[in-house]
Symmetry: C2
C-alpha cells in the first residue's frame, strides 16, 4: 500500500493518505471543516477544493464535469469527494467550501481585536531584602513593579500565600507575576513559564462551547462543545427554572452538573492544547439570563414569572473558585452583562462580535437558540427583543423532532414534478428524527411543492404513498419505515407545521415591531448561532421568517456569541464596550406592544398575509 503527503491549505496541515483515498476522507480525517451535504456521493457540489494542475490526482469524474463550471475547472477546482489521491498533493479549501459552523480561524480573531487582556504576565526582579530593612516580599515586589513598570499593585490573592515565599527564593527573586488589571497579583511563576491562558465559555440552554486562548498572542489553541447536562432536568429555560424552584435541592443540582461538565470540557481543551488548567487565569462567560444565573448559582425563581426580574445585570467578576470553575483557583471569571430577563449576556456578546453600533448600516440580528432574540440597529440606536418562538425551530414539540445530532434529518428536498423526497441525515446514517433545519426545509419544500397552502393546511386531494392518516389527521411521510432506524415512518404532521408557523410568526412580528421603532428597514439580516449555520437560507426566506427583500441579504455569521466571549477575554476595552452595549440597547417587551398581536396573526401566513415578498417567485 502506497502512502502520499497531502498538504492542506490554508490550515498549514499535512496528512498522510493512502493511495486511492478520496480527498474528502483525507480532509475529514484531518479535522478540516469541509462542507459536504450529500455524504460524498458527488451530488451536492459543496466540497469544492483547488488542486494544483501538476499534482497527482485522479482525473475529472462525470459528476465533476456536470457540477463544476468550465471556469472553475480551468482554475483547478475539484470536488473533494470525487478526487482520489494518486501521489503527493496540495489541496486548498476555499472559504466558500468550509462548514458554516466552523469556529472562525485564528487570524480572523486577531484581526478583530488586538490582545490587551485583563491578565498580564510581567517579569519582575525583586530587590534583595536586608536585616536593616523590614519591608515584606510583597512590598518589594510592589516597588519593583512600580519603578520598573509603573504598575500599582493593590492586592494579592490568598491562594498565592502557600507557595509565594519559597518560589521567590527558589527563582533567585526573579519571577513572572500574573496580574489582573494591574491591581491584583493572581500568581507568581518561575521565569521559565512565559504564557498565560484564558477560557471563553458560551453556555447555551442546549449546547456549551469552550475556547482555550493564549492571552499573549490571542491564538485559539483548542475549542470544543458539549451538551448542556442540565438538559436532563428540562429541555427549555422555563423547565430549568421550574426544576430549580420546585425540586428538592434543585438549584444546587443544576449548578453542580453544569460545573462538573464544564470542568470536564476545560480539562479536555487543556489536554488538546497541552496546557495545565492551573495556567488558565481568567474565563469569560456568556449565556442567556437563566444560564448566567444558574452558572453563578443564583436562584432563578424571579425569572420564571412576570415581571421577569434578573437578580443582577451588570458585568461581574468573581473568583473562579467561588463559582467552582476549575482553572487556577486565584483566577477570575468575567460574566458579560445582561440586557434583560430574556435578552442575556449571549446577546450582548453577539452585538459585541458583530458591532452594528460602529456602522451606518442598519442590520437585523437574529439569534435563534432555544429562545429567539433579535436586535435591530446601527451606530445611532440599538433595540432588542425576545421572541417566544417556542422550541419548534430546535426540533422540539415536533412529532419526530430531535436535536441536531447523528441520525437527524437536517435537509429536505421535494421534487415538484416527481414528488420525490430527498433527505440528508447527520452522520450519514439511517434517520431517527428531524432537527430544526430539517423541519424548516420540510415545511418550505411542502409549500413550494403546493402540498400545503399559505395558511399552512395540507392540500386536499388524493392520498399518494407519501401520505398517511395519523391520530390527528393527515401526515406527510418524509422517510418510509424501511429507510429509518426506528422502524416507523418519519412524518410531518399538520401540528408540526402549525408549530413552525407560530415560531416564524413570533420572529417575523417581533422584527416588524423593532423595525417600526427603528424607523429604518434593515439592509441585511445576520443569523447568529447554530441555527443560522445550518438553516437553508432560501427556504427560510420562502417561509417568511424575517422581513427581508432578498435571500442574498441573509448572512449566517457563525457562533457570534462565542466570538464575543473571546473578544471580551482578549481585550479589556471590549468589556467596556460590552457594558456600554448593555446600557445602550433598548429592550422592548413585545407582550406590551399593542401592534404585536396583529403582526403576529398576519405573519402566521406563509410567507405573509399582507407584506409583499417581491423576489419570492424566483425561489418557488
Amino acid at each position: 500500500m502506497a502512502y502520499f503527503e497531502v498538504k492542506i491549505l490554508p490550515f498549514g496541515k499535512e496528512a498522510k493518505a493512502e493511495g486511492g483515498a478520496s480527498l474528502l476522507e483525507v480532509l475529514i480525517n484531518s479535522d478540516v471543516p469541509i462542507e459536504s451535504v450529500c455524504g460524498g456521493r458527488g451530488k451536492c457540489g459543496k466540497c469544492k477544493v483547488r488542486v494544483s494542475p501538476g499534482d497527482s490526482a485522479s482525473s475529472l469524474s462525470p459528476e465533476e464535469n456536470r457540477l463544476l463550471k468550465a471556469q472553475e475547472i480551468a482554475q483547478g477546482m475539484r470536488l473533494a469527494c470525487m478526487t482520489r489521491v494518486r501521489g503527493d498533493i496540495a489541496c486548498e479549501v476555499p472559504e466558500s467550501s468550509m462548514r458554516k459552523g466552523y469556529v472562525r480561524d485564528k487570524t480572523r480573531v486577531l484581526r478583530a481585536v488586538e490582545p490587551d487582556p485583563a491578565i498580564r504576565l510581567v517579569r519582575v526582579r525583586v530587590p534583595e531584602p536586608s536585616l536593616s530593612d523590614p519591608s515584606s516580599d510583597l512590598e518589594r515586589i510592589g516597588v519593583a513593579m512600580k519603578e520598573g513598570l509603573g504598575l500599582s499593585i493593590e492586592a494579592i490573592d490568598p491562594y498565592c500565600f502557600s507557595y509565594g515565599p519559597s518560589l521567590l527564593r527558589r527563582e533567585g527573586l526573579e519571577v513572572n507575576v500574573v496580574t489582573w488589571f494591574e491591581k491584583e497579583i493572581l500568581g507568581l511563576q518561575g521565569r521559565r513559564k512565559g504564557e498565560v491562558y484564558g477560557l471563553a465559555l458560551d453556555i447555551g440552554t442546549t449546547t456549551i462551547g469552550g475556547y482555550l486562548v493564549n492571552l499573549r498572542d490571542g491564538r485559539i489553541l483548542s475549542s470544543g462543545s458539549i451538551l448542556n447536562p442540565q438538559v436532563r432536568f428540562g429541555e427549555d429555560i422555563m423547565s430549568r427554572i421550574s426544576y430549580a424552584v420546585n425540586a428538592r435541592d434543585g438549584l444546587r443540582m443544576l449548578k453542580a452538573v453544569l460545573m462538573d461538565d464544564i470542568n470536564r470540557l476545560v480539562q479536555d481543551l487543556c489536554e488538546k492544547a497541552e496546557v495545565e488548567t492551573d495556567e488558565i487565569f481568567e474565563g469569560t462567560v456568556v449565556g442567556n439570563t437563566v444560564m448566567h444565573h444558574l452558572f453563578l448559582g443564583i436562584d432563578p425563581s424571579a425569572l420564571g414569572a412576570a415581571p421577569f426580574v434578573p437578580f443582577l445585570r451588570r458585568g461581574l467578576d468573581v473568583k473562579a473558585r467561588d463559582v467552582g470553575l476549575k482553572i487556577n483557583p486565584s483566577g477570575y471569571v468575567h460574566l458579560l452583562p445582561l440586557e434583560a430577563a430574556f435578552v442575556g449576556a449571549d446577546n450582548v456578546a453577539v452585538i459585541l462580535a458583530l458591532k452594528p453600533y460602529l456602522s451606518e448600516e442598519c442590520v437585523l440580528i437574529v439569534d435563534i437558540g432555544t429562545n429567539g432574540e433579535i436586535v435591530i440597529g446601527n451606530k445611532k440606536r440599538l433595540i432588542s427583543a425576545s421572541c417566544a418562538t417556542g422550541p419548534a425551530l430546535e426540533g422540539a414539540h415536533i412529532k419526530f423532532g430531535m436535536r441536531a445530532d447523528v441520525g437527524a434529518i437536517e435537509r429536505v428536498r421535494i421534487d415538484r414534478e416527481s414528488g420525490e423526497v430527498w433527505v440528508n441525515v447527520i452522520g450519514g446514517v439511517k434517520p431517527k428524527g428531524i432537527c430544526g433545519s430539517g423541519v424548516i426545509d420540510a415545511v418550505a419544500e411542502l409549500f413550494k411543492a403546493g402540498l400545503i397552502d399559505g395558511s399552512g393546511r395540507f392540500a386536499r386531494g388524493e392520498m399518494g404513498d407519501r401520505w398517511k392518516d395519523g391520530p390527528k389527521g393527515r401526515e406527510f411521510i418524509l422517510c418510509k419505515a424501511e429507510d429509518t432506524s426506528i422502524g416507523e415512518d418519519i412524518t410531518i404532521t399538520q401540528e408540526d407545521i402549525r408549530n413552525v408557523q407560530l415560531a416564524k410568526a413570533a420572529l417575523y412580528a417581533g422584527a416588524k415591531i423593532l423595525i417600526g421603532h427603528m424607523g429604518v428597514e434593515p439592509s441585511r439580516v445576520l443569523l447568529a448561532g447554530a441555527f443560522g449555520m445550518y438553516i437553508d437560507v432560501k427556504n427560510a426566506f420562502v417561509l417568511g421568517m424575517f422581513p427581508c427583500a432578498e435571500p442574498s441579504r441573509i448572512v449566517s455569521v457563525g457562533n457570534a456569541a462565542g466570538e464575543g466571549a473571546i473578544f471580551a477575554l482578549l481585550n479589556r476595552k471590549q468589556r467596556e464596550e460590552a457594558e456600554k452595549i448593555a446600557e445602550a440597547v433598548e429592550y422592548k417587551e413585545l407582550t406590551l406592544e399593542k401592534a404585536f398581536q396583529r403582526e403576529f396573526i398576519d405573519a402566521l401566513y406563509i410567507p405573509h398575509r399582507k407584506d409583499p415578498f417581491p423576489s419570492l417567485t424566483d425561489y418557488l
Copy 2:
C-alpha cells in the same frame, strides 16, 4: 438550708448563696475576677470588698482586724474570704481587688472607641420591579441605598446568590442589607434580624483569645481562650517554622489544626452568647508575624533565617471562607498590619490599645509572650524592638518549668529570717512545676534572701534541708517531694537562674538601646499580655528586668493586644490608626546595634552591674 441573694457590683450580677458561704466562694462561682493569692486563708489581704454596713454579713474576723486599716474598716471594707453570708447582701468589688488578667469590662471598651464598624446593617425598601423596566434586583437595591442612604454599592458577595432573590420576595422587598465599608453587600436578612456580630482574635504562640462582639453597640457578648493547638508541633516560633518547612505537609497541617480549634472556639463563643456563627460578618486578627502567616497559610520559611522577611506586612482583608474561618462565608477577616518579622500585628494592636502616640509622656511598653517585644515612645516618635528573651519567662527551659496552668507554682516567698518558703499554686492543688511568674519570684526571693549573689551564683556555705545536689550542681528546693504531685522535689537550679538572667538581660539591654535612640527616659513601664498580668512587679523590679526608677511606675495593662483587636473590629478609624502605627514605628534590629552586646553583659547582673537602682533598697 437557707439561701440568700448577693448583689455584686459593679458587675450587675446577682447570685444565690447558701447561708454561711464565704463571699469569696460566691464571687468565684459567679465568675467575678477577684484577686486572691493565699487561697482564701485570710493571709494575703488581696480580696478586699466593700459591704454595706447594714447588710447581713458575719462579723469582723481577727485576720481582717490585722490586715485592714482602721480607715478601710470604717468604709465597710472586708476580706471576701473571711466574710460569711448571713442574709441578703450587696458587695462591691473595687478595681484594686480585681485580677489583673481580667478582660476589660464592656464599659471600658465602649469608653475607648465609639462603634463605627466596617460592617453595617441597613434597612432597605427595594422599589417594585415592573415588566417595562428590565432593571435587576441588585440595581433596585442600589437605587434604594443611594437615594435613601447615600450609599454607593459596588459589589455583592457571590454567596448571596443562592438565597437573595427568594429572600427579597419572601420579605416583601423590605430587607436588612449587611454591607462592608458600604462597598460590598455581604448578606441580605429578613427584617426581623436586627444585629450583626464581629469576632476579635488574638493568636498567640501559646494561647488564643477570642471575643464575640455586638457590632451595633460594641458590647462584648462572650470571650474565651484556648491553647494554640500548634503547640504539639513545637513550643516556640522557630520550631513552628521548622515544622512548616521540614515536615511532610507541615504548613498545611499547622494551618489545619489552628483553624479547627479556632472554629471550635468561635462555636463556643457563639453558643455562650446564643448567636449563630452565620451572624458574624467580620473578624479581626492580631498575632505575631509567624502566627499571622500561619493563620493565612503563608509559607513562613523566610521568617526562619536572616534577613527574616515577612511575605506581606500591611493590613489585609480576606474572605473568611478563603482562610477557612467559619463565620458567615461572605464575611471578611481583617488582619492588622505587621511591623517586622519579629514585631507583629499583636504589637501594633498593643500600641493601638494603649495609644502612647496620643500622649506627651514617654512610656516603655513591654509585651513578654513566647517572644519579647518592646516599644518606647510618645506622640513624637515610636521605636520598637524584639528581644530574644528565650522561653524562660514562660516557664520553658527551666528544669521544672511548665505553662501557667493548674498545678503551676505562680508565686514564691522566702522569709529572710526563718528561710521558710511559701508557694502559691494555680488551682490550689499540689504543685507539679513552676510557671514564668513563679520562676521570676523564685530568683528574686533567692536574691533578696541572700541565697544568690548579684552574679546569680548560689551562695556557698552550709547545705540546709532546702538544698540538694543535682547532676549539674546545687539546687534550691521550692517544694519537697511529699508536698508535690510528681513525687519529687521541685527545685530551682543554677541553670534556671542563668536562663532567667539571660532573658531579663535581653529585655533590659533592648530597653536601654531604645531609650538611647529615644533620648528620653520613660516615665512609666506598661506591661502588656498574660505575663504582665501575673508577674510580681516588685520582684521584677528587684531582678532589674526593666530600666525603671520605682516599681510604682510599672503598670500591668492586661491583654492589650486583644483589646487592640476589638478596637479595630469596632471602629474603622482604628484600622487607619493601626496602619499609621505600623508605618510610623521605627523597628530597630538589636543584633545590628553596636551597644547591644555591652548592655546585655552589664544587664546579666542582678539587678545590674552599673546602673543605679536608687529605690531598690526599699524592696530588699
